[in-house]
Symmetry: C3
Subunit: 174 residues, 3 copies
């Protein structure tokens, strides 16, 4: 992948959107990406309330702009009545990549079983990878860390590019 | 959580509903809950045949009664032509909580690989958590045991209550 | 199970269908099945392009023929724009068996994390089990190996037959 990954970060939170709370999830995602060795640049930061239509709209706009390779949402993946990020995000996707969400839950749930209650979603819209992560700073950054190594390859595949790593004889392609 | 969890248990089985077989799945669920340290009270026990409309109806009725926090179904999660509990339950849910089902399969499948064939479903309707578990007594009770510790927190979230455990700085929220 | 499992293998690949590439995924599936101890016979081998309608059609035809117990597809489960096998297969299924796909990803992803990007699908149409596996020879054969031991039981269940292994007192049924 010759170009750094262009990342949009979207904090989904009534409290943050209304100004009642400080945004901690978004910065935690940025720090987790910075701590990874993935070449990337954060091209957009936004905060929206837990409103499905708003969530759906912002994912569509970002993915369809042609200027974003990865949309990371943080917030709204729990079980409470206001948590509707997964359904909203899912409506925007061409397809899900369930293994990324499974891996997040399996890895973060090992030390923190409540992580199994998170309803992370990963998938592709057009040529953009979309990840919906928990709202807590630690939850979001742990999940990003778990899949960070897979992101460059995932985004190349979503873009329709050839994977750069040579496939050995019998090597596994996804 | 100040109040004990109000549990409804539903055995889904043609054989039990017709009187041909004894209900062992329902009692196994009750024993598994009793063995856990979760404060709860079983408010309802029912047995129905493997009929999707019946299954769907009973979940709706129980969840919408306002008197049940947790619906536990046992039976109909296999791969045979009569096993249609997952689809029926899914139609009643506002959303699924896939991590609970993933965890059940991963944990119970470690010692008993055939557990990976079970199509458990977990999700929320209104403010009620719904779990669809295997029909075998051991399968159902093993699955309940695997998620028991998560149930009080899951139900509080579904009710829209604040989680009681304090969130540490950077603590993971689901 | 008294009869060997009747297996149809379908290679999904634009390159193979056009003759530009050799089919390696299909033979890898055959070898993985041969290496397992599952009594089976390969009754059909086909290659089709990555066209959703074609994929959907061939699964329906094979499953509805009454002459195939297991359809194994290899290819089209990645994240690239042409990878549409999961969606096409899903439209043919009566229900999914998510645990089989979860197990494939968890097991093959342990040594090869990129396996988490694969969008395997497992499910049942009528009385036929359908598996959609990655296109790479190693990916496909690793996934088959991971679930091989479960296939005879899964197919018996899908056929509506009684499981042959006696259920011990408290034994887990799926």
């Amino acid at each position: 992948m010759s170009q750094p990954i262009r990342v949009a970060i979207v904090t989904v939170s009534d409290g943050v959107a209304s100004g009642a709370r400080q945004d901690r999830g978004g910065p935690a995602c940025e720090e987790a990406l910075a701590a990874s060795r993935i070449p990337h640049t954060v091209v957009s930061r936004e905060t929206i309330a837990d409103q499905p239509d708003r969530i759906e709209g912002i994912v569509r706009t970002l993915a369809d702009s042609g200027e974003v390779d990865l949309v990371v949402l943080t917030g709204g993946t729990g079980l409470s009545p206001r948590d509707r990020t997964p359904e909203a995000v899912r409506r925007t996707l061409d397809f899900e990549a369930p293994g990324l969400a499974e891996r997040m839950r399996a890895e973060t749930g090992r030390d923190f079983p409540a992580a199994y209650l998170s309803r992370q979603v990963a998938g592709v819209r057009g040529r953009t990878l979309v990840l919906a992560l928990p709202g807590s700073p630690k939850g979001a950054s742990d999940c990003l860390r778990v899949v960070a190594d897979l992101l460059p390859h995932a985004i190349e595949l979503a873009r329709g590019e050839k994977p750069p790593h040579p496939e050995p004889a019998g090597g596994q392609k996804t």
